[in-house]
Symmetry: C2
Subunit: 320 residues, 2 copies
């Protein structure tokens, strides 16, 4: 659930007046994004999202996101580009916060993707990778492999979350350090393309959203994150091979992964599972049980990790 | 901040298919209403609000609200009427909750109304009272005068909120019981027309919203609630006489209050201040200090109560 900074109607009118987008006729806070304040802003001309950046997004990263989404939108990827005002400025100040007026995209956030939707998501991810390949910007992945030991340490005693979890994590960190690839194709990736970050109408992708974890990393790691978040049962115990094949088939329709990438997928997916297991465990430990925010259970990603550790894990990434 | 019940895209499509309103192209949870789940629903034809009723609104009250808002909308009051499906049904079941698809109204919720906006709000309240006068429905005001002792008792020790508050409340309850009028003009009133329940564009009222406290009571009590919430400084210590006159002038342009009503206004406003003081004190006592919902400070309504208790309080209700 989002945090809301109040926007004064006069400040809002003054902001919108910097753009050639008409005048405000409606502005409602929406429950989208994790720690930003988001508003559905309607003007006499069009609808937009107004985002005020709260603590999660570093101000110094905003120009990177503006450039990235502008690059992708210019290549017809369905991403929410930041709008520039008459002076060419995209990052504004509203209520003491950095703020952007952003393209509105139609579509509904997914929760239980079908096979057809998995194929469409895979293709959209592949098309996004093709479009981003020549993007000049870069950003360190603060949620990437190099940082997992630190996140695990910051989470505290993992056995509090699930008895025995600390030993599982320690062993996995050792295994991943020993085997993490060093030379796969890399560029800026989404790094968090869960179903709720994809807008669809039927089987058509209308939006890839929430790029605020986007960073430089292996493109195959992005495939692994998407695999881990799209093709499992909610509890993470069961991988749906039809949906997995559809996802990989969709991606393959846009990008032919190299042999080294294909061989690395099970390992990268173990890493992706560990990444979400660790950040959820961290939030679990540091969020009071009676807080009014939903703590996401880490266990489903422990279950995925176990599935990807199995000897036959490579078969989960077949596209036919 | 609103609670959100998740709506499955398939359930949403099935709901919308019951109406002649096109197909869904977007649906976003919005931060409007206190304890309902509200969504901004966009179809190929139009925008709507989808409301799922949570604990605050009793299911048995819903037909009353449907009838009331239908009555007012038919008389061109800018209220969000519930839409009826092809079978004439307005109250549906979605995700195990009662739900309505409701007209979308443009406009921005006010926070700091200007004098011109106070006049427009007064006129809109008066016009709504004219329109509601022949409405046949009725509903007990569970937040009305008869219930304040019970609310005070349920709040617990009021001195925890503000030292000395219990004695102030006890004395005021006694005074109001002794002097509360018994025969003023009454009909269904809004009973909660705070600035954030009025949508405006400039000085034009585009929406009166959140009728879920609407109930049968004195129309002059509705004026008193609106006065208490529109014309004071945020801390409740200062009544802005220019805004107060504008509000009363606007109302008078639609409704001529009787002499008995005019004479009762200071008393009714003491009651209105006590009502919000008590419900906020109740929430203050019963909401943990570290909860992620905002506890509204009761003190500004204690300050209003004191202002309305003063000998010159009648002057605050002059319209010229």
């Amino acid at each position: 659930m989002a945090v809301y900074t109040h926007v004064d109607p006069d400040d809002l009118a003054a902001l919108v007046a910097r753009y050639d987008i008409g005048t405000v006729i409606s502005c409602k806070g929406i429950a989208e994004g994790v720690e930003n304040s988001n508003f559905l802003l309607e003007t006499t001309k069009e609808r937009f999202i107004l985002t005020l950046y709260e603590k999660r997004v570093r101000e110094s990263d905003l120009p990177f996101f503006v450039d990235l989404l502008g690059h992708l939108a210019a290549k017809d990827c369905p991403v929410p580009a930041m709008i520039r005002d008459r002076d060419g400025t995209a990052i504004q100040q509203v209520a003491g916060k950095s703020a952007c007026i952003i393209q509105f995209l139609t579509g509904i956030s997914l929760t239980k993707p079908t096979t057809g939707q998995c194929e469409a998501a895979g293709a959209a991810l592949g098309a996004m990778h093709r479009a981003v390949a020549d993007f000049a910007g870069s950003r360190e992945n603060s949620m990437g492999h190099q940082h997992w030991r630190g996140i695990a340490k910051a989470a505290g005693d993992l056995d509090v979350v699930v008895p025995g979890l600390q030993a599982v994590v320690d062993a996995e960190l050792g295994f991943l350090d020993a085997h993490w690839p060093t030379d796969l194709p890399a560029h800026v990736i989404h790094a968090d393309l869960f179903p709720d970050n994809v807008l669809m109408l039927g089987d058509t992708v209308t939006g890839l959203i929430d790029f605020y974890f986007a960073a430089s990393d292996y493109r195959a790691y992005d495939v692994a994150v998407t695999h881990a978040s799209w093709v499992f049962s909610t509890d993470g115990t069961r991988c749906d091979t039809a949906r997995a094949r559809a996802l990989m088939r969709g991606y393959a329709s846009e990008i032919a992964l190299t042999d080294a990438e294909v061989a690395a997928l099970p390992l990268l997916a173990r890493g992706a599972s560990l990444r979400f297991l660790l950040t959820r465990a961290h939030d679990w430990v540091h969020t009071p049980a009676d807080a009014l925010v939903t703590r996401k259970d880490p266990t489903p990603f422990l279950n995925r990790l176990r599935r990807y550790q199995a000897d036959d894990a490579a078969s989960l990434f077949a596209s036919a």
